[in-house]
């Protein structure tokens, strides 16, 4: 009680004199705050190690690590921006980058990147994705790693059944059916039907159809009949080669089913590497999404991860120094090896661990293959998330339950995307 009263009184007195933690100390020492946008016990130790290394190399700069739960990170950034309490450096992915740029919260990094050791050292495809996300084409994050959609599969089940990893969607579907033994609670595949479903469905649809552009003449290509064909095929698998509960699967349930041993194949991305290997060891491997009848490999890239320097930071130079350090060859290699993702720094490609990380090597192979066509989804659209989540996820569930046709479903989503894209173009 007394402590509280004192605090209130002291705070009221100090109303005008806000404390600024990030300020430079008298001895030239600065403290910068770093927000990890996907904080949690899995990543915290990795960053803590990098921070220790950074502080050893830069004794005048202290870094304060704050892990933000990934589910709330966008809201947390919004509140911080509105309240003027942004960190100095923050992890930001392209999925909400446009939103932050729109609020003028971030400092452009083009000059800093080009003026330092990172010049020409970043994967061009990732740099391009980041550029496309900002309305003015500037780099507001320095890309650090990329992710890719893949299919995790149980090598032991495949071996026992004498099957090979499927290369085409038709093989995929027959494999899933063959591996299903509903009586023994074993299923060939698991569909993500709940939260996050449509993000994944879109990557599957384009992998199948080979349509090589998200928009043609300003019209979304999502409603392409070939895309609908794939959605129909997936919906056909539901309950035949997948658990019935799949209609409500979000990532958490999906991975619980897979690591729990009741499912042979799961479409997710490299990010689940540590989870699946922890549970299944060497009985699990990754394959790229199968290709469709066209034989062309089309990839819808995942959001790109990176580090942003906030405009409000009083120590932008120190903040950049830290962001640069995190993306340097050594740190980038360390970090991506630990989380099992694709490093953005091209110097890392020669690192020894890439040879032994089969899934990363496979993904890099796909991205490096000149025949691979990248079809970036318009994550830069402010409405992209609401269109593909709130609006369409319940509709997709209807498709799975046979209450809505796949074509109708995709046409509806495509129409909304076309409108959003037009609005975006008009504003540019």
């Amino acid at each position: 009680m007394r402590k509280l009263l004192v605090a209130v009184a002291a705070a009221a007195l100090a109303l005008s004199a806000c404390s600024s933690e990030g300020g430079a100390g008298s001895d030239g020492e600065v403290t910068i705050t770093f927000w990890d946008n996907n904080g949690g016990p899995a990543r915290e130790p990795i960053y803590k190690e990098l921070i220790t290394r950074f502080e050893a190399a830069n004794p005048k700069i202290k870094v304060e690590y704050v892990g933000i739960p990934s589910a709330s990170v966008q809201q947390k950034y919004d509140t911080a921006i509105a309240g003027g309490e942004t960190p100095d450096v923050g992890g930001v992915t392209t999925s909400y980058l446009a939103h932050l740029v729109g609020q003028e919260a971030l400092a452009p990094l083009d000059d800093r990147i080009n003026g330092g050791p990172l010049k020409d050292k970043l994967l061009p495809s990732l740099v391009e994705t980041v550029r496309q996300t900002a309305p003015d084409g500037k780099l507001y994050i320095v890309p650090s790693s990329a992710n890719m959609d893949i299919v995790w599969y149980r090598t032991d089940w495949f071996q026992d059944a004498g099957l090979e990893a499927p290369k085409t969607w038709d093989e995929f579907i027959s494999t899933a059916t063959k591996l299903t033994d509903a009586g023994a609670n074993k299923y060939g595949y698991t569909i993500r039907g709940g939260a996050g479903s449509v993000f994944q469905l879109i990557t599957e649809a384009y992998a199948y159809s080979g349509v090589d552009n998200f928009f043609k003449d300003g019209q979304s290509t999502l409603g392409d009949p070939a895309n609908a064909e794939l959605v129909d095929k997936i919906a056909d698998l539901y309950k035949k080669a997948t658990p019935e509960a799949d209609v409500n699967n979000s990532f958490t349930q999906m991975i619980a089913q897979f690591t729990g041993g009741s499912v042979a194949m799961m479409h997710h991305n490299l990010g689940s590497y540590s989870d699946v290997t922890k549970a299944l060891g060497d009985k699990v491997a990754a394959m790229p999404l199968p290709v469709g009848p066209s034989g062309k490999r089309t990839v819808v890239p995942n959001p790109t991860d990176g580090f942003a320097v906030f405009r409000n930071s009083e120590n932008q130079d120190a903040a950049w120094k830290f962001a640069e350090f995190l993306t340097s060859a050594e740190s980038n290699s360390y970090w991506n090896e630990k989380v099992g993702q694709i490093p953005a720094n091209t110097d890392v490609r020669s690192a020894a661990w890439i040879d032994s990380a089969a899934h990363v090597k496979m993904a890099l192979g796909v991205l490096e293959d000149p025949a691979t066509v990248l079809v970036p989804a318009p994550v830069y659209l402010p409405q992209y998330s609401s269109i593909t989540k709130t609006d369409s996820e319940p509709q997709y569930q209807k498709v799975l339950l046979g209450e809505l046709s796949a074509q109708q479903f995709l046409d509806d989503v495509a129409k909304k995307l076309t409108e959003a894209q037009k609005e975006w173009e008009d504003r540019k």
Binding site: C18, P41, V66, G83, E85, D275, K278
Partner: protein
């Protein structure tokens, strides 16, 4: 394994059949048999308990295990959440916040409730109405204004700030509840005490307060649990990990790509046990408190 799990309801079903006619008559002229009540109740009980059981199983079995009845029990997940993830600190923060909110909400609602119940003052109705209306504003809408104010007051990153915010949000309803309880305590008793020479204050402490015990427990425990479960403010106002509370800590264990179910479940147990304990201790008073004055003698 599943057999052992499904058996209990079968075993549990027979006993309800045993009661004799005498007993059935005692339940008055209710049509039907006792099992018609008990079987659904047992099913409902299982329905509510199975998620808890599941959480417990995940928490005490080693990672990667699929046992349905975990043995031997492993405490590794508790060690992880408590020491590595920092639930020790989160727990302390939550306790401080919960107790702080409990104390302030109870004291303020008794004081305010007494004023509302016993005195007439100008604008009383408007005041009550304003109290009620404040319940219509969702916390999320107040988030940014509060954030800015707290920033100015230097109350971000402090449990004190969280207590203030939570007390402000909980007080209106607690106040209205408390006023209702106090209204149901007959004024005559107080007046009699005052005739015997008590001051109003002394009459309050000697006569009113003892009768308010069930109400205090009801309001206090709800205040505690409300604070214990508060997530939004705790998440938004804390930018230092040593100021996280349990709900924030729990969401912290849920990564975008990795979820350690064992740690999550162990964290869930840590967060749930105090609530269960609080209810186990106070539920007797709680029922009294909530129904106090329901029927006037």
């Amino acid at each position: 394994m599943t057999e052992t799990l499904t058996r209990p309801p079968v075993d549990a079903a027979p006993p309800p059949r045993q009661p004799t006619k005498r007993r059935r008559r005692a339940v008055a002229e209710e049509p039907g048999k006792p099992w018609m009540i008990r079987v659904p109740l047992v099913l409902y009980l299982l329905f509510t308990l199975i998620p808890f059981y599941w959480m417990l199983v995940f928490a005490v079995r080693p990672a990667g295990s699929t046992q349905l009845v975990p043995w031997p029990i492993s405490l590794e997940h508790f060690d992880t959440v408590w020491n590595d993830i920092g639930f020790g600190i989160f727990f302390y923060n939550s306790v401080v916040m919960g107790l702080g909110v409990l104390v302030f909400v109870t004291i303020l609602s008794v004081m305010g409730g007494y004023a509302l119940a016993r005195f007439k003052f100008r604008g009383q109705r408007v005041f009550l109405l304003a109290m009620l209306c404040s319940q219509f504003i969702p916390g999320a809408m107040m988030l940014i204004p509060l954030f800015v104010i707290f920033k100015g007051l230097g109350l971000l990153n402090s449990i004190t700030g969280l207590i203030i915010a939570e007390v402000a949000f909980q007080l209106p309803l607690s106040l209205i509840l408390m006023a209702g309880f106090i209204r149901n305590i007959s004024v005559e008793l107080e007046e009699a005490a005052m005739v015997d020479g008590c001051s109003r204050t002394r009459a309050f402490f000697a006569v009113v307060l003892p009768q308010l015990k069930p109400a205090l427990v009801a309001v206090g425990s709800f205040a505690f649990i409300g604070a214990w479960n508060q997530f939004l403010f705790a998440l938004m106002f804390a930018t230092r990990q040593d100021k996280f509370t349990l709900p924030v800590g729990l969401s912290y264990t849920l990564g975008e790509f990795n979820t350690d179910f064992g740690a999550l479940a162990a964290g869930g147990v840590v967060a749930a046990v105090p609530v269960v304990l609080v209810f186990a201790v106070v539920q007797r008073f709680l029922v009294q408190g909530l129904s106090a004055g329901a029927v006037k003698g």
